[in-house]
Symmetry: D2
Subunit: 344 residues, 4 copies
């Protein structure tokens, strides 16, 4: 924390601020400059927030320096975390390509798509049984029946499963059926759900909220880890901006930014990120090129009949091409394609 | 829905689109123009999303026309909804001023602040017992003990209570103790929570998410109403933009925009909206001037000792001035200050 | 400037940073904390930017403290600046209401509208002779012919004129014909134009760019003042966000933020800010309620025939009502309506 | 244009809208739906803007369909445009890597950096002689002396030059000395400057503004082309969002979006886009992976002494690695590295 005083702040105003800092159990370090004085603050406040100093006479602004996260930080754990999802490593040298339908609609649909994912070289299957939809009148997912379908298809194709949980009821079932619990963008700051996910012992895929800053994303991962679950993966899925040529604006620069600060794996979802089928393949290549640990894409064998998000789903053949191109880009950055599990 | 074809789209491409629209059970209305053809779509799709047409050959873009909300709309209910919170009407001709601490910290603190709210002319008391905090290491609220304090203070000062619920456990308790359930910005799209709130018979105050569009906010209210609870109030609390002179950017224009489309009351929270104590009063006046049904402000008798959000809390005396100025502005727009309940 | 070191930064890394700061002719103030060291920097760098320290080993981040503006600041001039536009004071106790067409289209049109402005109580006339339009195929304004019309209408109605300049050629003519030079949002950071405006001796109305931060707006005003022209007024006209219920998002909180830092007058343009006729009046009231020194609105006697921006123009009768309501709100905040010049 | 009527709009209200459309010389196509009527509009309005219909009774909203650009569009010219900059093709199968200092500081500095660019495999040299700086007190460039330095260095290393023009005076000199005129982000909508650039016969590199939508960027290119200069290249350099881990947010998805709509080449500037030296290399790889025609990066041999933007400049050796990695990624997408001119 740094308190910057007005150019014309009087010595007694500086003194009041210093004394208040000390009253909070913190240490004040005045730094007199040519035009103004700044006051550094060290120590950690248990009971009150030094930002209130902003309202003291003679104070120009208060600048926050510390970020508040611990377990997610490279300072706490310098080496990359590798999360193992049903036998497939995420976050190591091999990149992963995760595919599947937006929503599980039926056994036949899920089998058809899973077959395409496996054949195309994908290592993990995604698909929603619980769908958070903008409208209460849209299809909300098959619920536990969807989880059963996913579990059956996993056995058939040896594709570990990632699927979203949206509340305490669904998280218990997802933890029971699936290999990885997804927390969606809209629930990124649903702290009750994060704590519940932290109390399971399943890997968690945490998606960045539509307007989440890097620090907030990391602090949400911290919520999960603070409960004792260290198997957390992050996922960029586009943020909301004024731009209207895509549904969201994919912020790829968060990938190297996360890598610098945190040891957690980071994936990119180009399907929700762009919302446009024709941009999924190029954005996937870009994600691997910038250093992501993998991509998460929506695949549908009949996108024009999909019950949700058909406009952004790619076909199984496009998925196979996407895997090949991601593998080629991975080699440029000194990585490989993570091998898929052997089909049983 | 409107499908816009490329200037060079061939007649057979247009024909394919028209046939696909009809296959979806919808009606296609081709509109030939000088340069290109557009195709209007009417009817409502049960099974698939016409946006997939964007991927058809010859299609330039698909433009969404319908908004999907029903119960929240003035088309469904032309007259303003008045929500009664513990005997105080919100949404009628009288504006309300709601005050209280960010977090309930103790009985003494809450009593001291409530006394200031009542004395200053506020009609309702706000205060958090369950606090969604960015960091897992921050104070998370007193929980049920906080609700008990609020309930005691309500009896003493005749101030009905608004307090936030964050999950199924807390919503049951909040519905039991409080007069109005608040759904916070981070949980705006926590649809499970919205449905739970819709199944209570308590008024709900729904805050706009940090990056929520108007349609999304209305559809979240629709989630609550679709469960049979029509007592919903909306609240603008600032959205996230690049601007850094305030914590969030208050988007006051949503007030007249909501009033035009919806019959629900809309309030403004200048405390979270600006994050700066010195901007709470002017922003409150502006909120009433633009037509809001009231404001929701954080008040603390010792902001520099507050356990959360002290930098944006105003003092009880500033609150009293805020009520007076809001009342004066209300008169300019032909409204009054809603009377507070008579103290017992 | 504050350099924050990594928690694990080694003493010799800290030493390298300190030495580099000193090599830049600055003074380094190390502040050792429990977990990490921060280094305050004082003095002002002539030749290089201390932000490069961000790339030094062991450095976590560099935080900018100083803002770089001088003449615009209240630290340089504590008292409010009053700018006199053709005899009308802007920035004092009286608020101003400026109206006129988006574009000057003809003498008849401008006279008809000016008559409405004068009758309605407006003090200044705005109208574009040089129009920066998104498309090269849109109407670009009448140029000098438009300035002549404005000048004739000024004489007839005693309404001083504000009109936009877009380049060196137009600025010379605008300075010759008009009472105030407007710099539009798209040209806010056209520094050549700002310098040219600074070399005239006419008042300048500087509009905030669509994505301009407060500091940037102030530094653009500083460009004008650094050339010796101190007659600068600022104008909020909406910023670009994801929100789609208005054309732009009016950021009213910049008004008190500017007032705190700068002595310059600040106006609000609710017409461009909202882009919707039905939101101009409520937003104008809100602007005055939050403390703006006036509003700038588009008025057209036949908006459905306007050559540009018809959808946001209000009718002369609505303008008269707007003036009355702004005056009523001004009284609530202890201000008055600035008197118009007596008609000749 | 599509006019959507309220659900409860009366037939006579629809009739009024239809008649007004026809009065504008346009054709109205009513589309009655189950709940509401929409009215398609075809033809092109010469005199007024159909968006005013939004203010007519019974109208819910007006949706803009047409985009207004012509010459930049693939509908006007299906094949990719190749722009030749001093003998180097941009926009064909070969990607280009453009490097150089933010600002030309001296002959020695520019020579040292140019030598690194040439040795590293770059084909074009960038460097600013006219610098638009946020503060009037920052280094503003060497002006014509800078252009002379660039020209001398071009001869020595056979590196064609791209440099920014900021007004009419500088554009004449830039057109005389350089091989390509850069229009910076802050001047993207400086239409006078765009027209001046359109009247030269030099290639133009047009950077996207900080809050520019795709349509606006294309319409700015249209301004240049409408003057008869078809040698236009576009450049994504990051947009402004709430995210604070980079200086701007690079919106890579605009690359495939532009490619779909326009025949013009599109480059990416990862230096301004990220503002962080450690993100320039990964973002460059991502830019090529998504389909950009090249990248534009800041290089400095002594970044810690640079007079501007040192924090984002990379070293010559990093540049050489960047060229190699971009070439490797180019091969994955079926492209090559454009050969540099043979040194004389």
């Amino acid at each position: 924390m740094l308190v910057v005083m007005d150019a014309g702040a009087r010595p007694e105003q500086i003194e009041v601020v210093v004394r208040h800092i000390e009253k909070m159990g913190l240490k004040a370090h005045p730094i007199p400059g040519a035009n103004r004085t700044a006051i550094g603050i060290t120590g950690s406040a248990r009971t009150a927030d030094p930002e209130v100093l902003e309202n003291f006479p003679g104070v120009k602004e208060v600048i926050r320096v510390s970020h508040g996260y611990k377990l997610v930080s490279r300072e706490a754990k310098p080496d990359d975390t590798i999360v193992t999802v049903g036998g497939v490593d995420v976050g190591g040298n091999g990149i992963v390509v995760i595919g599947g339908p937006c929503a599980v609609e039926s056994l036949d649909q899920t089998r058809a798509i899973a077959e395409g994912i496996k054949r195309g070289g994908g290592q993990l299957l995604r698909g929603g049984a619980y769908k958070p939809r903008t409208s209460p009148y849209s299809f909300q997912g098959l619920g536990e029946r969807g989880l059963e379908i996913l579990a059956r298809v996993r056995e058939e194709f040896e594709l570990p499963i990632i699927t979203e949980a949206i509340d305490d009821e669904s998280i218990a079932l997802v933890a029971q059926y699936a290999d990885c619990i997804q927390i969606g963008a809209r629930n990124m700051q649903n702290y009750s759900l994060l704590k519940s996910a932290g109390r399971t012992r399943k890997p968690v895929l945490l998606k960045r909220g539509m307007a989440a800053m890097l620090d907030e994303l990391l602090l949400c991962a911290e919520y999960i880890m603070a409960e004792g679950n260290y198997q957390v993966m992050l996922c960029e899925r586009g943020v909301r901006t004024f731009a209207d040529h895509t549904r969201n604006t994919v912020d790829l620069s968060i990938v190297p930014a996360i890598k610098r600060i945190s040891h957690l794996p980071i994936l990119v979802d180009p399907s929700h990120g762009t919302g446009k089928r024709n941009k999924v393949l190029p954005m996937s290549r870009a994600a691997i090129a910038i250093g992501a640990d993998g991509v998460l894409v929506e695949v549908h064998h009949k996108p024009e009949e999909a019950l949700s998000d058909g406009p952004q789903a790619i076909l199984p053949d496009e998925f196979a091409r996407l895997v090949r191109e991601c593998e080629a880009v991975a080699q440029v950055v000194g990585r490989t394609l993570q091998p898929a599990l052997a089909a049983s």
